[in-house]
Amino acid sequence: MSRPTSTPRRLAAASATVALVVGAAACGPKADGGGGTGKDAAPQRGGTLTVLNQNPQDQFDPARLYTSGGGNVPSLVFRTLTTRNRADGAAGTKVVPDLATDTGTPSEGATVWTYHLRDGLTFEDGSPITTADIKYGIERSFAPELSGGAPYLRDWLVGAADYQGPYKDGRTLDSIETPDAKTIVFHLAKPEGDFPYLATQTQFAPVPKAKDTGTKYQDHPVSSGPYQVEKNENDGAHLVLKRNPNWSAATDDQRKAYPDTIDVQSGLDPAVINQRLSAGTGADAAAVTTDTNLGPSELAQVKDDKALAARVGTGHFGYVNYLAFNPKVKPFDNPKVRQAIAYALNRTSVVNAAGGSSLAEAATTYLPAQETFGYTPYDPFPAGATGSPEKAKEALKEAGYPDGLTVTLTHSTDTGKGYGPNLATAVQDGLKAAGITVRLEALDSTRYSKTIHTVGTEPGFFLSGWGADWPSGGPFLAPIFDGRQIVTDGYNFNSAQLDDASVNDEIDRINKITDHAEAAKRWGALDQRIGEQALTVPLFHPVYKRLYGKDVRNIVISDWTGVLDISQVAVK
């Protein structure tokens, strides 16, 4: 999923739901009654795949792209050291080698990671890909004029904190070693068991130094993948990709690359995209979207149309929408008040406000309900699907509010994004029965995002959400609950401002674990431990429904992106 985010750091978290949902949005293969016409026939090469999107691919420089797992369209052009497994569902959350022979060899307590390149790798011009090209690609992503990528490399690599890229003084990064053309070694400042996941991002794509044109590079980046850029019009609003003659399926076991041409058209309204996909006239029959969901009203229409329902896929992406508390604001400093709200919450109303059970799954855990995140089912404040006013009143009495209380819930004016008035009123209605009167404070989306992420202005009680950059518990929990990640002079995501030494230490300990399954278990346990403090009340994990054209087949949707993977799609 390529997230064309322009917002700061980290998925631009909350503010980027749009982007996230967009990226995540997704669709899926499986389910829903199986095959439309001719879907069982073996997929063939050839044809043109049309991609109808809302957001233009306005960044196409691998240094500037902020992606999860290398993105969707970008991943057709840029190969990276590792990539996401192109498989349906949970299998798709695995990280697999791409340019490299394996997902990396850790040493010295996961602070040193070594990769070797496969044989026979070439750029679109036929020249060989070397580890020097990968090192150069990473270095240029530090240049201020090519900013926009995920911030992790600057935090993780030794000596990268104030590195300004190779352009200014020609300095290189000593923490990336290339002992020979096939070997690359990364030296990290701290143990990071998730390094192979980071190596899926486009900053790990090779860039030949001789062809680098700085900020102009994105007009025609040198391809290492199955397609190369033929046309890039209006800043990525219309992107045409054609086959890269020098890409060989023999060196790439992930990308299928069936269509000859990929035509990406952006700037479309979501209703238009879904309407065009459902009508499927002309080129739209072989069309997909990588950033648009079916909305609730569209879902209601699909219900009555079997042929259409067969063309709807379901996708999951690690995301949680939750009620956030700022315990520095009264009365939320009192855990009993937070618990009362957790007990009173009517998740059925919330789920319906979010588009119904097909688009949202009620959540009691912060971590998404997928094994790869370390999902451990728990409900610290069990109150059933519709909430328990009695338990809530009990907690309120213990908190010293036997006659109920009035609180303010801050939300965005933006409807349909998971932080909007629809959800706020659903929460409000649910808490009414417990004697909690909720006053709503609506802020326009920009102001809302800034207000809730600034330590000084953070409200006591607000709607929020979080999605991770890769399917692991670390990027899900650490930014929100690690006390050392409280940012007092910028965007802060640790909204509870939790700085608990035992939590911080556990995060450090888990980061040292290089066995993903083992780490996942520990993240799950940590999630439960934090959940019991009621610093957040999870509302729901979104589900994505996406429509695809009637001639489209070989549909693969991973739980990593929740998005139909266009490297797998065939139109013949």
């Binding site: 209703a271 909305g295 609730p296 009203s297 569209e298 879902l299 209601a300 229409q301 219900k303 009517n346 059925t348 109303s349 789920v351 319906n352 406000a353 588009g355 119904g356 059970s357 097909s358 688009l359 519709t386 004016t413 409807t415 008035p421 629809n422 706020a424 009123t425 659903a426 409000q428 209605d429 649910g430 709503l440 404070e441 609506a442 326009d444």
Partner: protein
Amino acid sequence: MAPRETRAGEARAAAPAAGGRQVWRRLLARRTVRAAGLVVVLLVLTAAAAPLLTAVEGQDPTSYHNDLLDSAAGGVPTGSFGGVSAEHWLGVEPGTGRDVFARLVHGARISLLVAVGATLVQVAIGVLLGLAAGLGSRLLDQLIGNTTEVMLALPSLVFAISLMAVVPTDFSRPLLLTLVIGLLGWAGTSRLVRAQTLSLKQLDHVAAARLAGATRWRIARRELLPALAAPVLTYAAVLLPTNVVSEAGLSFLGVGVKPPTSSWGQMLSGATTWFRADPMYVLLPSALLFATVLAFTVLGDAVRTELDPRAASRLRVGTTGGPGGPGTTGEAAA
């Protein structure tokens, strides 16, 4: 109006009343007007009795009914016509299950209150400033004139949206809507009143009052206001439906009333994506809004025709009704 001691005052006081009755009779003689009037009366009654009506139905406008929704199908109401049933006369809202009838009748209160309130604000400011400009010094006239121009040139929708956004959320939203629409829409009235004042000023009885030493305030009150009533009323009748639409528009854009309060505009805004899946939900607020605006417009039109300056000149007392009527130029009456 103030107590009338003078002879002229008595004459004037009697005349508009007689004229009013005459106008009233002529208005009622028209079938369209009677129909429009009926709609307006019904609306006002509905709005006034909203809590009573919803109590009769046994619902309230904010309670959620999750059991009436098909959650897997996006939260569309189960049952036909948007979930119409004996309990929910006009169905329920998709995604929440809130009662549509209750939300519509409560929404009518907001729509009508805000529209009437905003019209009053517009007329009050417009008349005051128009009189001041017409009677005051040249400098004051210039100042008010320029301000009026600015107000007319202002992109009022954009301005209204930003005003609605910056005011703290604690402030009563219906009142804020009234003020914002009112404060941004007085320019037309002000111009009209100024023009009328300038021509009325030339009339004999006004000149006589001035010569007799009446203050400006007294002239405005005694000599001008009664004569201004007709054109201002006409103009207000046109403003009212515009204000209904403005309120709906602002609520539609998400800067109007705060949820869970309902208004027609806010309902329409939520309904836009549902026009295929749940047409009832879109049609009901649209139809009501349409009927309201149409009814007010028909009434306004009729009032204008009846109180047309030319017709009005026949009714107005204190002048003999010169050939051009007082609405045209000073010379006509001189």
